[in-house]
Amino acid sequence: MHTKFELPPGSLLAPSDLPPSPCLAVIAAAHAARQEMLALAAHLARRGPLRVFDGGNRFNAYSVARHLRSLNVPHISSVLEHIRFARAFTCYQMTALLEEASALPLPTLVIDLLNTFYDESAPLEERRRLARRCAQRLRHLAHCATVVVSLRPPQPPAQDATGLQQIIEAAATKVWRQATPPISPPPRLF
């Protein structure tokens, strides 16, 4: 059974936020929690090798390098070598990317997993079938090491009409959802 947490707006993830034992964590947030995922990649890279898969052209390597600099990492280039990175541009490629990844004892980040699945050029049933395969594969990978998946929920007011988000979240051990921002905060100078 998975637990749900609210992700405070603007917070960044650190490895200490992740459970100590291998798990499948899913973050659903605007922009597929891009900043959080890049910061997490920087933290993890400092400790050792990891894999990053990107479904939404979101891996801004400059951003990772800046995080490393702010962490006072001396040899940024060699730490960047720890990150093995690959992209998927269609839902078929994303599925193949996960299925071809072997279960290794190193953390895996999947950024914007569902982005290519929101492309309506493939029939919805086909996309759901592929999403289920991805979910199954993610669980398998999470036996060996922590897997963190980020996704971008469909634009409101559509509440996951495709059911794709539900398919991925159902497979997770831990789900973070972005807190809805408070409605029109009162104006103030600071």
Binding site: D54, N57, R58, F59, N60, A61, Y62, A65, R66, R69, I76, S77, L80, R87, F89
Partner: protein, 91 residues
């Protein structure tokens, strides 16, 4: 398939944006001088892109320095020419 890494221009604007607080607190005249430095760095975006440095700001700083040095050299040469024209005044 669309690029993943921001273009060098986007990276440049990002770095400039990151210094917005610094710039805001400067005097107006200093702000203008700072803007000059950034404009000078933009002359060499292609070289900064080709350098493919993980922290491109280092390339931008060097580009600023390069343009400053060219200015110094130009002024030096101008001074030399003026000296050559009226040697007695600059002796």
């Amino acid at each position: 398939m669309g690029r993943t890494l921001p273009s060098i221009t986007q990276a440049f604007l990002g770095e400039q944006e990151a210094l917005a607080r610094f710039r805001r607190a400067l005097r107006r005249a200093d702000q203008i001088a700072l803007d000059d430095l950034f404009a000078a760095a933009r002359q060499h975006l292609a070289a900064a892109a080709y350098a493919a440095h993980p922290l491109p700001f280092e390339s931008f700083l060097l580009a600023m320095l390069l343009e400053e040095h060219k200015k110094v050299l130009r002024l030096e040469r101008l001074l030399e020419e003026m000296r050559a024209q009226r040697p007695e005044e600059h002796a």
